[in-house]
């Protein structure tokens, strides 16, 4: 009886070994999914939600939407953002804060996205440009607002007219 188990054990072993080898053979013939980075840059697909570099979108008139409120600076967990503002006098005689420099440190940012979602004017977003490595640490301090740019004037649309437009559309559908 033990002899039969001995012989049976040998054949079971050979069968299981052959099964394992078939699995690795199939793996050998599978096309590999490795992406080879510098050569595939033209066909790279980066998802929109990937957070790379913080930018302040400027339109063709070199205007941005940042009001220098400093909410992004207050929400940043490790002080990566510095909003440097200056006071000017408007025509009405009121003092208004305008943006002087919006500084963001690429090296200490944790990419937590709190600044983007807490900005009331949607002035800053993260883009997909992940190749931001530099050889000099001082180059990591980015200034987000461009030279000579200013705050985009808000359109004369008050909150009241906005809700009126929505109400008119709903009446039409009803």
């Amino acid at each position: 009886m033990k002899f039969i188990k001995y012989i049976g054990g040998i054949f079971t072993a050979l069968r299981s070994l052959a099964g394992g080898m078939i699995v690795t053979w199939k793996e050998l013939l599978t096309p590999k999914v490795t992406m080879e980075y510098p050569e595939n840059r033209k066909t790279l697909v980066i998802s929109d939600r990937w957070r790379s570099e913080l930018i302040m979108p400027h339109d063709e008139n070199n205007e941005h939407a940042c009001t220098a409120c400093g909410i992004c600076m207050m929400n940043c967990p490790n002080g990566t953002i510095q909003v440097i503002s200056s006071s000017i006098e408007t025509e009405d005689g009121k003092k208004k804060k305008i943006l002087d420099k919006h500084l963001w440190n690429y090296g200490s940012c944790t990419f937590c996205n709190l600044c983007v979602i807490s900005c009331p004017s949607n002035a800053i977003v993260f883009n997909n440009d992940f190749e931001g490595a530099v050889f000099d640490k001082s180059k990591l301090l980015h200034r987000l607002n461009h030279e000579g740019s200013k705050l985009r004037d808000k359109k004369k649309e008050s909150p009241a007219t906005a809700t009126d437009a929505i109400a008119k559309k709903e009446n039409k559908e009803a």
Partner: protein, 374 residues
């Protein structure tokens, strides 16, 4: 037997060199110069095959593991081996504080010398056989046993108890599987009637030994491959150098070129096992020929003998790599269990069966002499 035209063989080149030497020097000097040339050639071929094998192993291992392997240096990464060789040559050799200096230095030399001695006895092609003793198989077994001295010395002189454990495990594994390898080769010696490699190959002209002695030869083939891998610490038997358990076992304390010797000899031992398996079971450098089909035979002879040899050895090495990346490592007690309780009894019974088959005339050459005989 017709003489076939063999355009790509190196026979004429070697004969020309030989006659040049003998024409210009006294016989003693000619032999000496020939010996030195053959020695240099063997060492160069050793190093080249090692470089090629390192590259092939890395690439094939990567493909088995769903990745690409080296592909940065040179097209498909072919220069990677050269870069690794340069790296190992210029690495610092770290001196161990209380290690036995002489034994520490000598251990890798034992391993590499045993490997090169066995390498010299391999038949690479027609007339490309450096050492053709009439006890070829016996010489090979004896000389590959010298490697274990190097391993034991390495473990002992490292002054490191984990290296010692690794060396002891390796020693036990090696001498156990040496038995199985020896017996399976003896089975083939019984079949072919001679220990000389060239006669074994000549006897496989029309039929490989694997098919000639059908059942016992196939069993001997499988057992030889298993024991060959276990002898060279290869494949699922690499417990002595188990990286996760003993951090490289007996060669933990070695660095630089000394580690390079261990590394090189492991690859070349794998090649030697594959080469001996092809020589003795698969016909060595002899092309596939069929008795009576002269044009087919002539076509087969156009492929040079060394191409046949490396092709068949390459297949065996691919099998070795396939096995390495398919199976989990055997624990030391399971390993020794496998040898003493399974392989050795099967081997002994197999040898007996082969003797019975040969003596009662049941080999294929005896049963079908017109097709397979000479």
């Amino acid at each position: 037997m017709l003489i076939y035209s063999q355009p790509l063989e190196l026979t004429k080149l070697l004969a020309a060199v030989d006659s040049f030497l003998q024409g210009n020097l006294t016989p003693g000097w000619a032999v000496l110069v020939k010996g030195i040339l053959v020695g240099i050639l063997i060492l160069v071929v050793y190093a080249l095959i090692a470089l090629a094998l390192i590259y092939i192993e890395r690439k094939v291992a990567a493909f088995f593991q769903a990745r690409l392997g080296p592909n940065r240096l040179g097209k498909y990464g072919v220069i990677q081996s050269l870069a690794d060789m340069i790296k190992i040559l210029i690495k610092e050799i770290i001196h161990i504080n209380k290690a036995d200096k002489l034994l520490f230095f000598v251990a890798p030399l034992f391993v590499i010398v045993a490997s090169v001695l066995a390498f010299g006895a391999l038949p690479f092609g027609m007339n490309l056989h450096a050492l053709d003793f009439n006890i070829g198989v016996f010489y090979l077994l004896a000389v590959s046993s010298l490697g274990i001295i190097g391993i034991l010395l390495a473990g002992w002189s490292s002054n490191n108890k984990y290296s010692m454990i690794g060396a002891m495990r390796s020693g036990a594994q090696f001498i156990s599987y040496e038995l199985s390898a020896g017996f399976s080769l003896m089975t083939i010696v019984v079949l072919s009637g001679s220990m000389q490699f060239s006669e074994i190959i000549e006897g496989q002209r029309y039929c490989w030994n694997l098919f000639n002695g059908h059942l016992p030869a196939i069993i001997a083939f499988v057992i030889y491959l298993i024991s060959g891998h276990a002898e060279t610490n290869r494949g699922p038997f690499d417990l002595p150098e188990a990286e996760s358990e003993l951090t490289a076992g007996y060669h933990t304390e070695y660095s630089g070129l000394q580690f390079g010797f261990f590394y090189l000899s492991e690859y070349l031992n794998m090649f030697i096992v594959a080469a001996v398996a092809t020589t003795v079971f698969l016909g060595g450098w002899m092309p596939v020929q069929i008795n009576g089909w002269e044009s087919f035979n002539q076509a087969m002879w156009y492929i040079p003998s060394w191409a046949w040899f490396f092709g068949k050895a390459g297949l065996m090495m691919f099998l070795s790599l396939w096995v390495r990346w398919s199976f989990p490592r055997l624990r030391i007690d399971l390993l020794l269990n496998l040898e003493w309780k399974y392989l050795l009894p099967i081997n002994l019974v197999n040898l007996l069966v082969m003797v019975v088959v040969v003596l009662s005339g049941f080999t294929l050459t005896d049963l079908f002499p017109a097709l397979f005989g000479k």
